[in-house]
Amino acid sequence: MSILEAIRSAIFEEMERDERVMVLGMDVGRLGGVFRVTRGLMDRFGSERVVDTPLAEGAIIGSSIGLAIGGMIPIAEIQFLGFTQQAFHQIGPQLARCRFRSRGRFHAQVTIRAPFGGGARTPEFHPDSIEAMFSQAPGLKVVCPAFPDDAKGLLLTAIRDPDPVLFLEPQRIYRRIRGEVPVGDQPVPFGRSRLVREGSDLLLIAWSAAVHMCMEAADRLAEEGAAVGVLDLRTLVPLDVDGLVEAFRTSGKAIIVHEAALTGGFGAEIAATLQQEAFRSMDAPIQRVAARDSPYPPGALEDHFLPSVERILKAARASLAF
């Protein structure tokens, strides 16, 4: 099953299980979304529960808050994460703080799905990796699967979570990455990272599509005789600090890889956490391989902007030699 099919399957099952669950967003109904993630849902569940909304991200999220307070469980699709900027005032200050502002009287069980990430030669704003912005919105959870089984299991958890969840979907590998997805109701808990590859010489830390870049780099490094592990964080908020520290201690060397720009990226949070929690295990400077600190460039230039296997290899060799 592909990541895309796994996501569709989670939505389908939750809509079957609970009639309060609904899908809203631009083009999600008849078309099934620009990536066809929600294809077939309108035929099965009707246009009252699978709703094509007007082109207005703020209204999609703002009305989702009201829908949730009114007893529905909305899954809102924002066509590309970059366009959550058009709705950020309804996400960070409103949706995320619904419980806190009302001192627990109200909460918003809302899942926002948004594809993101580069490498697909998409137009301006469509590939932006702005996930770190949302880690600064307390009350919100940030989930970023890299594999089909996690995509399904984490989405099941997201939809059932009483608090709002931003569910980030790796658009470049929507269809390319395929894998076994357990049959039946198998939600994956938040806040538990996944060591997708063991290795005692170095740890690569990533989330979403960058995990696969790290896997490729680890394969190449294995040919050079280095045992390199890969840790998939799976959720940025909540962050699996224990899992992170445990995986790091194996080698005491780590490289964080993300598609977001370097400065202020979530990699900084990981590096800061590791030096605080595992200082004595540290055996080399923690490095970050990230996108450049420039606005996302046109597609023809994105290979120079994004992290690459080559850049990971270069950093890894330096770390291994340290």
Binding site: M22, E48, R49, T53, P54, A56, G58, A59, I61, G62, S63, S64, I65, G66, L67, A68, I69, G70, G71, M72, P74, H89, Q90, P93, Q94, R99, F100, R101, S102, R103, G104, R105, F106, H107, P138, G139, K141, D161, P162, D163, G191, V237, P238, L239, V241, D242
Partner: protein
Amino acid sequence: MKKRTVAAMPSSNGDAAAQILGADGVLSGQCPMTREQVVESLRWMLLSRAIDERLIKLQRMGRIALYGPVYGQEAAVVGSSMALDPRTDWIVPASREQPAMLRHGLPLVRLFARYMGRIDHATIPLDVNLLPRQEAIGAQLPQAVGLAWAMKIRRVESVVMVYFGDGASSEGDFHEACNLAGLMRVPVVFVLINNQYAISTPVQKQTAASNFAVRAAGYGFPGVAVDGNDVLAVFAACSAAAKQALAGAGPTLVECKTYRLGFHNTSDNPKEYRDDSEVAAAMKRDPIERVRRFATQSGWWSAELEAKSVAQIAHDIDEAQHAVEALPRPGPAAIFEHVYATPTDRLKRQRAETLGPDAASTDD
């Protein structure tokens, strides 16, 4: 589907705001309220003004941080909320709809607790259909549309009344909310309280449109402008809008043209941006005085009844204030509560760091 009743909708022609009760207290046409409702509206308005006076006083004494009075807008707030059934309908407030919140069921003591910083004693009771005040101008509008949308999907007979001001109408949220509400035909009443100012910015700098009610046409639903200082006209327009909403006819925009007699809030000094003569003229259109006259002339109200009412209000306010003063102020633990249903490990650690490791957890 219920029968549509539109008889009570006051007509408005162009820029004219519909009026039933003149500034002189003289009624033109039929009174849309019963005697009991007129008296009730007067009591809410008197309570509102007394709350303003008390909380401004407490702010000047340094006992509360900030207060935005309803002063001058009482008829718009009270008249609109009286069109609702608190058992089934919802109020989504902006920020200065205190009497509407109380009429909808928020206990006075919780209103005072909110301003006096006892946040955990200020929560909206479970059986009160009211959202918290909104500090981000206009952000409540799409949320109210979503709430009304949920009522429609769930086939619950309920109207959502959302309040906002002339300033909020410039926000993108206003446009997005109205557009969605019109498309989905949700049972929402948009109550635009046009008090002529967004802090210091007059409506003439807010929009080139001649009034706000006309904007509704662009979203495919009716808009009506009423004299917001006329509690009867506001009530009639909002009652008609609520009936339309319940009948499945979708939203209505009701613009209540009023005037903010007071300051924006206690940190504001309106003398810096408007003339005293303008305020003095607005004082002559006081929303309370005209109801008082009308009710007195109708034999429903008297100086004696007012004295009794004012005394009761003062007593209730004293009681609420004293009850809140006896409540504990929130401690640092409150920072960590209600962030998530179950706190994250990081929050738990930060809580322990703040309170000491022995502090009991208060997961909600």
